[in-house]
Symmetry: C2
Subunit: 327 residues, 2 copies
Amino acid sequence: MGGDFGMDATIPACCKFLEEYPNVKLVLVGDRSQILHKFGPQLDRYNSLELIHAPECVDMQDEPRSALRKKKQSSMRVAIDILAQHKVNAVISSGNTGALMLTAYHLLGTIEGVERAAIAKILPSMSGEGVCMLDLGANLEATPNQLFQFGIMGAQLMRCVYNVDSIIGLLNIGSESIKGHEYIKNAAELFKQYPNCNFYGNVEGNDINTGIVNVVVCDGFTGNVTLKTMEGIAHMINKIVTSEFKRNLLSKAIGILAYPVINCIKRRLDARQYNGAMFLGLNNVVVKSHGSTDYIGFYHAMEVAYKEARHDVITSIKEKLSAKKNI
Amino acid sequence: MGGDFGMDATIPACCKFLEEYPNVKLVLVGDRSQILHKFGPQLDRYNSLELIHAPECVDMQDEPRSALRKKKQSSMRVAIDILAQHKVNAVISSGNTGALMLTAYHLLGTIEGVERAAIAKILPSMSGEGVCMLDLGANLEATPNQLFQFGIMGAQLMRCVYNVDSIIGLLNIGSESIKGHEYIKNAAELFKQYPNCNFYGNVEGNDINTGIVNVVVCDGFTGNVTLKTMEGIAHMINKIVTSEFKRNLLSKAIGILAYPVINCIKRRLDARQYNGAMFLGLNNVVVKSHGSTDYIGFYHAMEVAYKEARHDVITSIKEKLSAKKNI
């Protein structure tokens, strides 16, 4: 029910998902009559689809705490309830991020040994394999051990889902180990002491998307500002490109000729394909879709959740962290 | 003498500058014989040019402290010495940033009432007027009062140099005033209490370049990571555009046709025109040029320094901050 477009984004995304992944069962949680009124005939075509009624809805204005306490019949809450009961393997929502995070924390808990969950996303990289960046805003601050755990979680994700060797970098203001905050230097020490962990060292903002590392670790404040800065710059460049191709008749004509190439570029830069932020470190798979995305973006968030659940990232994190304890 | 290209960037930039601003006098500080050997005949053409010999050079590997203590005959040190003696109005360097900052701090001091100097840059914005962002790395952390002062300094810069009404935003992870670190919330209070200061409130990473504010304030860690992230994303997009236009014969042909438009886009995104980081808050004008830029970039850094000195930003900051004291 969430996000700027509500069912108009989520339900077409579900239909697309079932076309692509016919063996996956989907459970829609929301206002039954609203859903059936608008999408009934469309949904009838799918067998592997269940509908669970939830009469309430968490609004964007709801305080996370009050959503958790008072809206026990909300679609968000009911979805996380059935996840906690192991009736489903993953929850995807485009609703209120704070409420989703708090509710998930409260009802699901963190993986044994994990101090704090982190918001993680796979971002584009020049090497093409993508880079997992975390924390993107779950924790304003992070201790050295929390940063260390974020790195291990991100590395396990990349290994399990993308089958790549993980190389972990700590986001900092210089490559030298003397640079930056004390808690970052201390986190670097934890990585260095830990065996079987491919730690690159510090990376800077301009290294994130180069592919020299495929896991970038930072506190949630820095991660959130950085992620949004990326979105802002990409948006500005897109605007500049569009305005230059629309400047005059000649440039418009060139724009029509260049359309296939421009289209390829836009497709490669399309933020929707990178949609889907994982709440990594929780005991179950919870993925947040950007509130303003359309059905294509929501579909990609569903794929992110599917892959995290399918490759059992949580068990792999659990094993890795308990192995650490036994050193 | 500094930067990746040394005199090959700085001296052609000086020549270009003297063509554009024939009434400005330039003083070159560096190894006299090296300069004259390579650029003697070229420099002979300009009357408003003086050469001061400095036998030493601060290297990129030099520790700032040791550069300050031991290299008293370095071009960087001699340049700042003559600035402190009011023989020149501004210094531009593309050398070791840490050494430049420390030497400038030590020899010039800060404007009365200014707690800490900040690194400030004018970045592109969609509104076209540019946005002043600070601190970009002079201070790892900042107190509420320091953030407040950064905002006032940035606002005075925009007012004096660009003749625009300044609107100040605090970089944060949400627009609501309850978001973010305590020191940011406390800085917001200082801005709100201060009369005659156009404070917008919090801005997020994706707001920096939109033009909703023209001064963005943050601590040096966040600012440095953010600035470098912008550079990284712009670089990645540039790579993607180039690779798509080179994908096959057809796209190459389209690329040739679209060249005038692509060229306009590249010119608008050319990082060199935004080169030149001001050490705002010092008693004199010191501008750092990016070490890897060419003569065009260094020329723009010279323009930044010229404008800051020409419009006497320092006096305006001094007056604004002493007015605050008298409230």
